[in-house]
Symmetry: C2
Subunit: 248 residues, 2 copies
């Protein structure tokens, strides 16, 4: 059992706190600048909270789950073992020894339930004592714990933006087309799910299908002309089709 | 029970034939230009086959499941009720009356099993008698049958290319980044699946996350500079991020 001070009370802090408590760890305190979110989370966890940065309670580990640009300001006030939870920030943004990174790779929103077991956790530490603690903490809440260095984690974050945020943008475009032509968007639900499912066992390069992959220029031309009234989407359609053709 | 002549022996013909037979319909004959694929499918279905277009056996319905550009050549030789299975081609590419469209919206590959029950089937017909037959046929193999006109089906096909083929391209890019930096791509599997899962119940516009959506220009700049050695991906990253920002 690890005693943890939770720094931050946003979506990640919320879901992570519950997962940690469920795994038998103790959240000794919640810190947040805003009293409302600090007390909201602390009440759920039945633990004390503070909004004063100089009153952070020391514990086995501080988990800094705040916005990237607030990490450096907050961490100065913590002189016991600490990790941040950012995909973009390097390990070096934390001062002192006894520092590490504990980065769960998932999107969190307040509304939806999260099953932490399936969420990969990327850990990093230069500290011999902290490394096994982070590994234990990771495996206590997730089946997948990976050790990545700061450079890899940064690249992984780019890959995640591309694979997920950009895919969602594609879903948005397709939804707009459906709405415009009074087609129920749910027709596309199974295909979207199958596309994501497929690459769980097949390499994406092997799973590529569609007119660009087939070199079906007639269909590509037809689609481009049908997108005439939406020049933004037309450009994106052309750019991405060219890219698929180039790599097919 | 409907007697069906299967025109074509590719991936779609294969999966569709099995689903239809499983639902109690009878495939009376398989036609394909190439003997190897015709006999392969016919053997599986335990039915006759032909490679001669003038020896197609009449039945309740011919299902034309051939490449888009072969439809018009083949259909001339069929003078009984017939449907094509194309997302792109209009109804009007079939001559005579008694014609329709039977378009299952899914990607089919020979290797992977297909559960037709969850695959949406889009039907269209100008023929009063054929319409209920297509609807019955659709509901006998799938839980989701939609009536769309040719214009809508064409737009749906564009939407499907964007939502699925382009998403898969994003998965490919992210896999390349992972490989280049020795990160196991499987770390991204759960996030990719969750992204596709999310929009089954949430509108894609509401599900958008990431640095572009947050207006986090610092991270966007950092990512763009980290992609410096890949100008193609850098351009795509910028274009898609700009688009997310514009619509956020």
């Amino acid at each position: 059992m690890t005693k943890i001070t939770m720094i931050g009370a946003g979506n990640l802090a919320l879901h992570l706190s519950h997962a940690l408590r469920h795994a038998g760890h103790e959240i000794v305190q919640v810190y947040s600048r805003t009293e409302r979110s600090a007390s909201f989370l602390a009440n759920q966890l039945n633990c004390p909270f503070t909004t004063e940065i100089d009153k952070i309670t020391p514990s086995d580990l501080a988990i800094i789950a705040v916005n990237d640009d607030a990490i450096e300001e907050v961490e100065k006030h913590i002189d016991f073992p600490k990790v941040h939870t950012s995909g973009t920030k390097g390990l070096e943004c934390l001062t002192n020894s006894n520092t590490g990174v504990f980065y769960p790779l998932q999107t969190f929103s307040k509304e939806s339930e999260v099953n932490f077991k399936t969420i990969p956790i990327c850990i990093e530490s230069n500290d011999e004592a902290l490394r096994p603690l982070l590994h234990q903490l990771g495996t206590s809440i997730s089946e997948k714990v990976y050790t990545l260095n700061s450079h890899q984690r940064r690249q992984l974050h780019i890959a995640a933006v591309i694979a997920c945020n950009f895919s969602n943008l594609m879903y948005r475009f397709s939804q707009e087309i459906c709405e415009e032509h009074e087609i129920p968007f749910e027709i596309l639900h199974p295909l979207i799910l199958e596309t994501a499912n497929k690459i769980q066992s097949l390499q994406p390069s092997k799973a590529q299908t569609g007119p660009a992959q087939r070199g079906d220029d007639l269909t590509l031309q037809k689609h481009l002309s049908l997108l005439e009234n939406n020049s933004e989407l037309q450009t994106i359609y052309k750019t991405l089709s060219d890219s698929i053709k180039k790599h097919s």
